[in-house]
Symmetry: C2
Subunit: 135 residues, 2 copies
Amino acid sequence: AQIALERGYEERREYDARYRMLLASTSDAFLFVSASDGRIRDLNAPAANLLGGARDELTGAPVAQEFKDRRRGEFVENLVSLALSDVSSELAVQTRRSRRDVLITPTVFRAAGERLILCRLTVEAGRHQVNDRLT
Amino acid sequence: AQIALERGYEERREYDARYRMLLASTSDAFLFVSASDGRIRDLNAPAANLLGGARDELTGAPVAQEFKDRRRGEFVENLVSLALSDVSSELAVQTRRSRRDVLITPTVFRAAGERLILCRLTVEAGRHQVNDRLT
């Protein structure tokens, strides 16, 4: 069992390492959000920059409070239903701290029994205060 | 030990799931290459598109053969030394199948005792056949 345990640990470390390198190397802004409590589980530097905060300060924070006029439960529900809808769609929001118009493209998946929402943030080019029609 | 094993397995699955979602969601083209045998361990759709092949056909293929005039051992050595150099730098190459000029930004890391090279590929804007001076 000791060998199996160590192998499990090594395997975990392998995927952990790949995940971390990928998150650190991508130029896209990514947030991982827990679907159960709506908190940011992880994010990369481009996402922290866009939101206008520090990475360690944003980790664990409720994602809804980082966007203007978004209520916690409702916001997470919107992201999940958008992710599960047939047409791939985006949510137009404004960041609370940096007041930037961004589009969120959400994807929902299950990891170790928990539902996570992967959110890709892109800056809206040449649009101002466009309200999405889905909320 | 059973509980610990299961927890290890769950953790591996969690990182595995995060890793896969991230690799599938990023708009950047990424390749994971083994530093020991120079073969492509994993890649995403944008990378397969750039290289001009199918994802499952490219998985396991020697990375050097996908670029023009690149020899296997030497190419991997170049990527590793570039990744470990102080200045962040890129390697200018041309893809063999699609004949596109791309820049490779390599990062080296260790995962489960093996050295992997994460390569981000970007299309060179407005450059033609520029040879890097590092090879």
